[in-house]
């Protein structure tokens, strides 16, 4: 560790705000989490596909906001030198490509199987014979595996 002090001009990157900024970040994170949970509860009652999608989009945006506050303020990345920030964040852009392409791939695989694989298509209409399905009170005839 002796050498580190010689290389580093000022290794301590304390945020200007001190503990005040820490607690501000905490309240922001708590608030964002509560909004996420409220949206999650609202989603339980929403049946429409578009409505659910909109709520999921909002939750993902809030998730990214939380990630920003943790990385920027708790991990002090905001106080680091721009070059350092870039060497960490630019490689992570690969994940953006990965998310888009893999989810697209998964969706396309489902569509192809539903179109060309009759066995798979019929299987995914088989109702669960689990006791949890009984609790839901699903009609008996729906569990025979017949196509809807």
């Amino acid at each position: 560790m002796e050498h580190s002090t010689a290389y580093v001009a000022d290794p301590v990157h304390d945020s200007a705000g001190g503990t005040k900024e820490i607690w501000r970040t905490f309240w922001i994170l708590l608030g964002l989490t509560i909004v996420e949970l409220v949206l999650g509860y609202i989603m339980i009652g929403v049946e429409s596909h578009g409505g659910r999608l909109a709520l999921k989009g909002a939750i993902i945006i809030l998730m990214l906001a939380k990630a920003f506050y943790i990385v920027a303020y708790f991990m002090h990345l905001k106080g680091e030198i721009r070059n350092l920030v870039m060497t960490i964040l630019v490689p992570l852009a690969l994940l953006i490509w990965a998310i888009i392409s893999f989810l697209y791939e998964g969706n396309s695989y489902r569509n192809n199987r539903n179109t060309y694989d009759a066995y798979h298509r019929e299987r995914s209409h088989i109702m669960s014979t689990d006791k949890k399905a009984d609790e839901k009170g699903l009609p008996e005839k729906k569990r025979t595996g017949a196509m809807e």
Partner: protein, 226 residues
């Protein structure tokens, strides 16, 4: 103190100092965390891909609806997991307060906040242990999924496989974080950092701990909310 006087014309890459203005260990911790985020990213993207390729998927609100002491037919979705989330955020705050106290070289405060962080870590692990046990009693495990899809059709074991693998991998990170923090607490109490003249080690441990919290933000959203 030099950073405040360093102007635009300073040549960071002329040698003699770290061009990133951080010590070696902290830089490597950042790069480790970057590589670790690729691991978690790969796990979560695989989960998303399989979910997108499936015709049906269990509804998380029907799977995660219990808390310790609740009855068999309790329907309380999101309650227990929000407590877990709160515990982890709180322990992240005490960790950053420990780092802050380290900058002021306040040994007593560093030890106190580290102890709180360790406690939060154990509380989170306890919650996760309860949840795993509870799900296991319901018949859920790797290769076994008792929960039907949200539309009532028979489900595959993909849901439980991904759930236990990803929360397990995250829980393992929390566990290692707690171990690291315990080592930090012992070193603080022994006065190791006092002798060194700085508490930079706490900062590196703090980075790891915040990363664990960061990953939970994503795991929590992907498994319990979406």
């Amino acid at each position: 103190m030099e950073t405040t006087t360093v102007g635009v014309d300073t040549k960071w890459w002329n040698g003699g100092k770290s061009p990133f203005n951080v010590e070696y260990g902290k830089l490597m911790m950042w790069y480790f965390l970057m590589s670790d985020s690729f691991t978690f990213g790969a796990f979560l993207i695989a989960y998303g891909t399989v979910r997108f390729s499936s015709n049906g998927w269990p509804n998380p609100n029907e799977v995660f609806k219990s808390y310790p002491g609740s009855g068999e037919f309790t329907n309380a979705p999101l309650v227990f997991v929000s407590i877990m989330t709160f515990i982890l955020i709180m322990s992240s705050v005490t960790m950053v307060l420990a780092v802050h106290a380290g900058h002021e070289r306040n040994k007593k405060q560093v030890a106190t906040y580290l102890a709180w962080t360790i406690l939060g870590g154990f509380a989170f692990l306890g919650c996760q242990a309860w949840e795993w046990t509870h799900l296991h009693h319901e018949g859920a495990w790797w290769g076994s999924n008792p929960f039907p899809n949200s539309d009532g059709t028979a489900s595959t074991t993909n849901f439980t496989n991904f759930f236990f693998t990803i929360t397990g991998f995250h829980g393992f990170h929390v566990f290692s974080g707690v171990i690291i923090n315990i080592v930090m607490l012992i070193m603080t109490l022994l006065g190791t950092f006092e002798k060194k003249g700085h508490y930079l080690m706490i900062e590196k441990a703090g980075l790891y701990w915040h990363f664990v919290d960061l990953v939970w933000v994503f795991v929590f959203t992907c498994f319990y909310l979406l």
